[in-house]
């Protein structure tokens, strides 16, 4: 039996009939752009996260870019972030004209808050903590640093839906936060999508105009804007899936707890939640000795696994081009050699987890 990393197929199979019925209903109304379904989604997110405002956008990348843009970050500015993330974090900073400044990560794969102040310069305008795999950064410390140096905070909460730090949801520790609803997230659409949350009315109004061509009313353009609207069909799917999100996350957390119990953690480490963190567990990343060999072995046993990601962002060719690769980030570089995602989704059975653990333990025992 093959054990797959993710479960999109199964998930869709269960939900297909309901999704198609509700899409049909949307279609019959004759409006497919910025509709009541999207409004409803934005309200639902506000309720769930406790943020005042939410705006649905094309993608998580757009959410990051618009957050930066709305805060007035641009050419000549520096934004502090960490290199263990999806490429979009850096792409967004670069494309508003700013410069990403890398801070190394801690053992939990998130930015090491104790190293942030060393990188602050006159040009630093913002800190962009990434809640990698759904585990939130030390937001208290980061907020203190930001306050002291008068910096903005933009949470890269692409994986942060359903994540909490000290019982407060992702997005509530910052000026603005960017979320993704890409198919590989816990709250996922059937394609690209994203949104921002904020408590700042001004930022909200700014992005609301900007995402829809700067149009105030049909015949009045206030500013020149762009088009970044969350797909209405996906908004409907997300409304439907949001109802189940809590139970999805609980199942995922339960699975990881089982993994933790059964895997011999001598050669493989599973980063813990601290008492302040409540991770939404988007990806199940372990730190493995002899990672590549382990992956090969698991593969031979029909167990899927994936390196998320093997190259820290500052080591990519795209970084070299901009001289970003010279930053010394030993923890990131070291952990990038160890990270491996193991099968992890809400439909994973205890037996499947047992099997994966057995094989992992066998691999290390025999070698």
């Amino acid at each position: 039996m093959k054990i797959e990393l993710i479960d999109l197929k199964q998930r869709y199979k269960e939900e297909s009939a309901q999704i198609l019925t509700s899409i049909k209903k949307v279609l019959s109304k004759g409006h497919l752009v910025l509709t009541e379904e999207l409004n409803k989604f934005e309200n639902n997110i506000c309720k769930y996260t406790g943020s005042k405002y939410c705006l649905g956008l094309n993608s998580g990348t757009d959410a990051l870019m618009m957050s930066l843009w709305a805060l007035g970050i641009g050419k000549g500015d520096e934004v502090i972030t960490s290199p263990i993330s999806f490429v979009a974090t850096i792409g967004a900073i670069i494309h508003v004209g700013a410069k990403p400044v890398f801070v190394d990560i801690a053992e939990d794969l998130n930015i090491d808050a104790s190293k942030i102040e060393l990188k602050i310069t006159k040009r630093t305008k913002a800190i962009m903590p990434i809640h990698w795999t759904g585990k939130m950064c030390s937001m208290d410390t980061i907020a203190k640093i930001a306050k002291k140096h008068k910096l903005k905070i933009i949470e890269d909460a692409a994986q942060g839906m359903g994540s909490y730090y000290k019982k407060k949801h992702a997005g509530t520790y910052s000026d603005i936060a960017a979320f993704s609803t890409h198919p590989l997230k816990n709250l996922n659409g059937l394609g690209d999508g994203g949104f921002i949350t904020t408590n700042n009315k001004q930022l909200y109004e700014k992005i609301k105009l900007y995402r829809n061509h700067g149009i105030k009313s049909r015949d009045n353009v206030h500013v020149f804007g762009v088009n970044s609207r969350l797909d209405v069909l996906n908004a409907e799917v997300l409304n439907f899936r949001l109802k189940k999100l809590k139970s999805v996350i609980l199942k995922r957390r339960r699975n990881i707890a089982i993994y933790r119990k059964l895997i011999n953690q001598k050669f493989i480490k599973i980063p813990h939640d601290t008492k302040d963190q409540f991770s939404s567990c988007v990806i199940f990343l372990c730190l493995c000795e002899r990672r590549d060999e382990l992956q090969k072995y698991l593969n031979s046993k029909s167990i899927q696994s994936l390196v998320y990601y093997g190259t820290p962002l500052h080591k990519h060719y795209a970084s070299k081009n901009r001289g970003l690769h010279k930053t010394k980030l030993p923890v990131s570089e070291n952990l990038a050699k160890k990270v491996l995602a193991l099968p992890h989704h809400q439909n994973l059975t205890t037996n499947q987890i047992k099997l994966v653990c057995r094989e992992v333990n066998k691999f290390y025992k025999n070698s």
Binding site: L8, V33, G191, F224, L233
Partner: protein, 368 residues
């Protein structure tokens, strides 16, 4: 009799084929780019006769992508027309460049004589718009651009299915942008767009830029963004391509009938020239009318959903304030803005409905 402007309630009534393919898609779980997006791009490139097509999030992103692909940046100027949808200028601004607006002609298309006057050292491109689904004289624009050695980027957002001497809009400039917004001739169930080019180098760059600059999952060549078309929508577009010619035919038939019925109303109502060799998509069926606001009210009272594109042209919008425009340069646009009206003409209208619209307009002018 109701004559609706919005035809979407009819458009996606039969979604059997689309849903079938969606179900297939969910089995592949290919929700990012993938097979259907590639299939659509290939089919569309054949349809319009361009070598390369890359699909995007929407028409605006397609414009931004087009401009960025030829290096448009801060300090550059791009010439475009004053009566267009805001996104044409918005895309130029999004690249950091300055939109240089010029007046339009009697066919509501960019006035080629005005373009010349605005070309200077900073001019990096001309962006003609195929406004309303009609086209400006692309041959003359290309000649002009060649003379001054500047690029032409076509805003063909409304031009899918149009023809100029047999050639599709979007095959003249170095690169072109299209939209598949629900109210376009080729439409999806939300936002969608694409760019077309014959230039391989531009194509290669665009393909990567739209997907985070990635060569593959583990290699990033340069920092890009996310401007991908949703596979769900690619499937809708593939189905749409099957009927696009039929849609254009029906709209042309309706427009021809409407032209015939309204032509006697001049000078109260003036239909634009429809020169030989130009096939329109009739994204917008526009004419210039006397007592426009009263006519609009009258039509709406009679359940004819007429619209105005647009009562306030781009050159008079608050967003254009920074451009410090001299309104004297926009005589035609400003005059048209007071007189222009858009009548329903879409493919779902019957002969009866068209006659009814014409009849009501005639009646209005008899009384006034």
């Amino acid at each position: 009799m109701l004559v609706p402007y919005n035809y979407l309630p009819y458009e996606f009534k039969n979604v059997k084929n689309i849903f079938k393919k969606w179900k297939k898609l969910t089995k592949t779980t290919d929700f990012t780019l993938g097979k259907y997006v590639a299939e659509f791009e290939e089919k569309f490139s054949k349809y319009i006769g361009a070598k390369y097509v890359v699909s995007t999030n929407n028409g605006t992103d397609a414009l931004i992508l087009s401009l960025k692909s030829i290096g448009i940046k801060k300090g550059d100027e791009v010439i475009t027309v004053s009566n267009t949808f805001y996104a044409s200028a918005g895309a130029i601004v999004a690249c950091g460049a300055k939109p240089i607006l010029v007046d339009c002609d009697d066919r509501y298309q960019i006035d080629i004589n005005e373009i010349k006057k605005k070309i200077n050292k900073k001019t990096k491109a001309i962006m003609p718009v195929h406004w309303g689904g009609a086209s400006p004289d692309m041959f003359s624009i290309m000649k002009l651009a060649e003379k001054y050695k500047i690029h032409v980027v076509e805003d063909a957002c409304m031009g899918i299915g149009a023809k100029i001497n047999g050639r599709s809009p979007g095959t003249f400039g170095i690169i072109s942008a299209f939209s598949m917004h629900p109210l376009k001739s080729l439409n999806v169930m939300g936002d969608g767009g694409m760019v077309a080019t014959n230039n391989k180098k531009i194509f290669n760059w665009i393909k990567k830029f739209r997907n985070h600059g990635m060569i593959d999952r583990d290699r990033i060549e340069f920092w890009g963004v996310n401007m991908r078309l949703q596979p769900l929508q690619a499937i809708v577009a593939i189905e749409g391509l099957k009927k696009i010619d039929d849609v254009i035919k029906k709209r042309n038939k309706n427009a021809k009938k409407m032209d015939g019925l309204l032509s006697s109303l001049s000078p109260n109502l003036v239909i634009p020239d429809r020169p030989k060799g130009f096939r329109e998509t009739f994204a917008l069926y526009m004419c210039l009318v006397k007592s426009r606001d009263r006519l609009l009210k009258y039509l709406i009272k009679n359940k004819i959903e007429a619209k105005i594109h647009y009562p306030i042209p781009l050159n008079k919008q608050r967003a254009a304030k920074n451009l410090k425009l001299n309104q004297k340069n926009f005589n035609t646009t400003n005059k048209q803005a007071k007189k222009i009206i858009t009548l329903p003409i879409h493919q779902y209208l019957s002969k009866k409905q068209i006659s009814y619209v014409a009849h009501k307009i005639k009646k209005f002018y008899e009384k006034n």
